[in-house]
Structures are given as C-alpha cells and as structure tokens.
C-alpha cells in the first residue's frame, strides 16, 4: 500500500499555490491535512500526477471573529478550531461537531478547508457550514470568488470549486446569543463515518421559534439542509409534537444511499430520530441560556 509516483510542490504563498494550480489544472491535487487524500493515495485509488502541498502557507491558518461569524483560514487545523475558546463561545455547534471528526490524531492534521473541499457527505463540517448558511472563498487565476454552502456541494467528493481554484477561507455565521444547538450522530464506532448525523440550531423569541436550522450528513450525495422541516418549525411554540413533525419532514428531505453498514431506509429513519433528539437538546440549551 504505497502511493504511485507524483510530482510535489510546496508553495510558500497562496499566490504561488494558485499559480501552480493554474499551471497543472486537473492534474494537480491540493494537499492540506491529507487525512482523506493520503489514504486514497496509499491505496492508489487516487493518483494525482501533481501534489500541491499548502502546509507551508502559514498565512492560511487563522481563526477570526468578524462580521458576525467565524472566519477560518483554510489551513486551520481542526484540532485548533475544536480547542479555540472563540469557537466554543461563538459557535459551540461547530466545536461539538468537530469533536466527532475521526480521532484526535486525525484532527491534529486535518484542516477546516480540506474537509470542506473534500466534500465527503459524511463529513461533519459540511453540514454545519450548510446549516449556518456558511460560505467559502476560492482564489483562482481571476481572483476571489465567494461560494455559498448551497452552491458549493455538488455531489460525492465534488464541489463547485474549479480545478484552478484554491479554497482559502471558510466562514461560519455565528448563531445569535441565546440560541440552542445540538450535534448528534450515529456511527458504528466512536470516530467512524456517521451513518447519519444532524446539527440543529434553535432561536426562540417570546416562546416561539424564531429561527431553526437543520443540517444533516450521511444521508445523500451532499450534506443536506432540511429547509422544509425548518419552515415547519418557525413561528411555532416548541413541543414534542412539533419535533416529531420536524423528524418526519427531515425524513422526507433526505435521499440516502445504503451501504454495508446501513440501508437507505435505516439512515432515513435514524435521521428523523436524531433530528427529534437534537431539537429537544437544542431547546433545553435555549432554556439553560435563558
């Protein structure tokens, strides 16, 4: 299990990296944390002729609290985000989701940008980005381009990033103070790819739900935003019956595929179960905060 031959570049700046991508295009693969790419290369399932290693671009590692949200340089390690007091304070949903990304050794290398660009539909970060209406900035030969989460994720392992573009930043709008949140997932073992996972945010005003967000992983070719289910919640007072209705709406919103670990039917069912539980937990956090 050893990788095939490739050409290796280790640019020191974003400009150099973008130039390399411009030169090699489809033949080049960006190496960030490498925790998904390198296993594929070791197995020779991925054989990029050119690897552009962005790990030496120090300017791409940062966490900033700006414009009502968190901005992450693409090379920010997942572990750094997970341990950041800023992330814990501004977006605990993201922190909770990050804790379930692989294991600590993986998160020590894995990056925020890499996970999003890899677009594994079971990757926690993708659903959080989707649920929070996040966006990314891509830099290409023509300059910067902002892509919303909705437009970013195309299908399995595929984003709308062009081969000549480098994802340089991800932005997660922070839920308002007092919002409740929950991240829940079912995985075969701790740290495994989720069979289904859900992140929720609830904002209450005067006893009714003012905003609700539901993002899911493991239930289709991309992360899923359960917009219909969210609409059913907004304007309603929270109740068990409401959660149940939301769970049903979530089940309608997803079109999972089965694999050897879980059937499509199971994933759909569990997505609803988890959504219900996550909403319940979100509410209890709203009440704790109040």
């Amino acid at each position: 299990m050893k990788p095939a031959v490739f050409e290796y570049f280790s640019p020191q700046t974003v400009e150099e990296a973008v130039a390399l991508l411009g030169e090699y295009g489809d033949d080049a693969k960006v190496l960030a944390g490498g925790q998904s790419l390198v296993p594929l290369m070791n197995m020779r399932l991925a054989r990029p002729p050119v690897v552009v290693d962005i790990n030496r671009i120090e300017s791409l590692a940062y966490i900033r609290d700006e414009d009502g949200g968190l901005r992450f340089g693409a090379l920010t390690r997942q572990r750094a985000a997970e341990r950041s007091p800023l992330v814990a304070a501004r977006c605990p949903l993201l922190r909770d989701a990050l804790r379930l990304v692989g294991h600590v050794q993986i998160r020590n290398r894995g990056t925020i940008g890499g996970s999003i660009a890899h677009a594994d539909p079971a990757a926690e970060l993708t659903a959080v980005l989707a649920a929070l209406d996040g966006e990314v900035t891509a830099r290409g030969p023509q300059g910067d381009r902002v892509i919303s989460a909705r437009e970013l994720f195309v299908t399995y392992l595929t984003t709308s990033l062009e081969p000549r573009e480098l994802l340089v930043e991800a932005r997660f709008p922070a839920p308002p103070q007092g919002a409740g949140w929950s991240w829940m997932e079912v995985a075969r073992r701790h740290g495994d790819f989720a069979l289904a996972g859900v992140g929720t945010v609830l904002v209450l005003r005067r006893g009714t739900i003012a905003d609700a967000r539901i993002g899911l992983i493991g239930v289709g070719p991309t992360p899923v935003r359960a917009a219909e289910a969210e609409r059913g919640l907004i304007g309603q007072p929270p109740s068990e019956a409401l959660w149940e209705a939301a769970a049903e709406a979530v089940r309608d919103a997803v079109s999972p595929d089965g694999d050897i670990h879980a059937s499509a039917e199971y994933r759909r069912h569990v997505a609803g179960v988890l959504a219900q539980r996550a909403l319940r937990e979100s509410l209890s956090r709203v009440q704790e905060a109040a």
């Binding site: 693969k29 790419l37 594929l40 197995m43 020779r44 399932l45 991925a46 990029p48 890899h118 677009a119 539909p121 079971a122 299908t155 399995y156 392992l157 595929t158 790819f193 289709g220 070719p221 595929d257 089965g258 694999d259 050897i260 670990h261």
Partner: protein, 147 residues
C-alpha cells in the same frame, strides 16, 4: 448492484431510438469516456476514466449493443478493467411512446470488482447511480437539443 430508472424524453420514439444508437451520442453522454472506437457493428472499444474527484480509475474494455428490437428495445453491455479493478455492466433499455415524447425505461446490473469494490463501498452505490443518471440526463438533453 442493481439499478433502474425511467426518463422522459421530449422526442418521439424513433428519434430517441436513433439517438441511443448513435455513437456520437454515446460518446458525448457516457461519463468519463476517453475513447470510443467502433470495431464492428454495434461493438466499440472503449476507454473510460470513471470516478469522482481524485478517485478515478481508467478502464479499458468493450461496449456492445445487442438484442436489438427497433425501435423499442436493446441491451447495452460494458466491461472493462484497469488498475483499480474491473467493471461489468449490463442494461436493458425499453422505449415507450408517452404523449409527444418517449418514456425511456432502463434496468441495469453493475458489477464492480477489485480494489475499488473493497475500499469504496460506502459511496460506490450512490456514485454508480449518479453516473447512470448523468448518462440519461445527457441523452435527454441531446434528444431535446436535436429536436
């Protein structure tokens, strides 16, 4: 891996039949097709690069159309092998008039073997479905564009 589906195409059965037998349409719509060389009647040598993102395998093999009953039915088979393993697919295509257009019903069985099967099982089914979906969507556009 058994898959099936139905597509509704905005053209009469005869037009659709011609399209799905047209090497140019096959060339344009078969996902990842790098090369398609006619080596006999309804028999092609094909090279495909199939996969998603960095995970792509190149397969060389044969594409053949058999059991033809114009303008309503044929069987399309594809087999290829490469470093990532092998693939073998068979699909039955049936055309039915449907209003002004045509209903294209397909049912296929794809076998994937070797490295990719043992490692990629989590997404393989979904990706296979997606690629076949792309193929028929493309045909739909092709037929649509042709009328």
């Amino acid at each position: 891996m058994k898959l099936e589906g139905t597509n509704s195409l905005p053209a009469p059965v005869e037009t659709v039949w011609k399209t799905i037998n047209d090497p140019e349409a096959l060339r344009r719509c078969t996902p990842g097709l790098k090369e398609l060389k006619e080596v006999g009647p309804d028999t092609y040598q094909a090279t495909l690069q199939i996969g998603v993102a960095a995970v792509k395998g190149t397969y060389a093999g044969t594409l053949a159309i058999t059991d033809k009953r114009a303008p309503a039915h044929y069987k399309i088979s594809l087999d290829g092998s490469g470093g990532a393993g092998f693939m073998k697919g068979e699909g039955i295509v049936d055309l039915e008039p449907h209003g002004d257009g045509t209903l294209l019903k397909w049912a296929g069985d794809i076998q994937i073997g070797g490295l990719i099967a043992g490692v990629g099982q989590r997404m393989l089914g979904g990706i296979g479905k997606m690629l076949i979906g792309q193929f028929f969507k493309c045909l739909e556009d092709y037929v649509g564009g042709g009328t």
